[in-house]
Symmetry: C2
Subunit: 128 residues, 2 copies
């Protein structure tokens, strides 16, 4: 598909899709006329990128982890290609993501606890 359709289907502006390509997060083919040509899987890929970006990761980090996020049915990288350094880097990123999740989880609990204490029964479905 071309860039406009991908933008429509993901809600990500074309400007950003080109930026992600510049940052080596996407690698669309080119049609004869120079237009970018994205595979169907790009929709999922873009959603992953957006989620990671929204979660505070930089494009540099995402560039490192995104090759490993493909669906299992896509064979894309042999374990042989995974150097020890890359694996360590990946584990490091995973740990940092875990720390963020933990941090947000703690704070979220505090917020929810506060809301529950102040307005019991609100937000978790009506009591009848």
């Amino acid at each position: 598909m071309r860039i406009g359709e991908l933008a429509r289907r993901t809600g990500v502006p074309t400007r950003m899709l080109r930026y992600y390509e510049e940052q080596d997060l996407l690698h669309p083919d080119r049609l004869a006329n120079g237009y970018r040509d994205y595979p169907e899987s790009a929709v999922h890929r873009v959603q992953q990128i957006r989620g990671l970006l929204d979660s505070g990761l930089t494009t540099e980090i995402i560039r490192n982890v995104v090759p490993f996020l493909n669906r299992p049915d896509e064979i894309h990288l042999h374990p042989d290609c995974l150097t020890a350094e890359t694996a360590a880097l990946l584990r490091g990123e995973a740990d940092r993501i875990q720390a963020r999740i933990d941090c947000m989880g703690r704070n979220l609990s505090a917020i929810r606890a506060y809301l529950a204490a102040v307005q019991p029964g609100a937000g978790d479905g009506p009591p009848a």
Copy 2:
């Protein structure tokens, strides 16, 4: 304590501590000479702010939720002070934080699954 000690104890530069104050995330008292005077609890508060910032939240969002993150033993806000709008806003923020947690959790799982598939036993403790 003064700003220098807080910076040392949290690892956050004084520049940022002043910025967080400007953003209404911190409200230190002032000594007679104009120096900022932080309570002991500011250490924890700053760590919360850093964690949320690292998790991709903006200072605006943090400003909205941070008053409700105090320890339960600190009575700081009567339920009366919580307008319906504030509660709704808070629930909205909570939902967005939840969405981030979910998103990061999915990506984290994918990364960990990949690592586990490629290097079973690494990172989860030695097999003996």
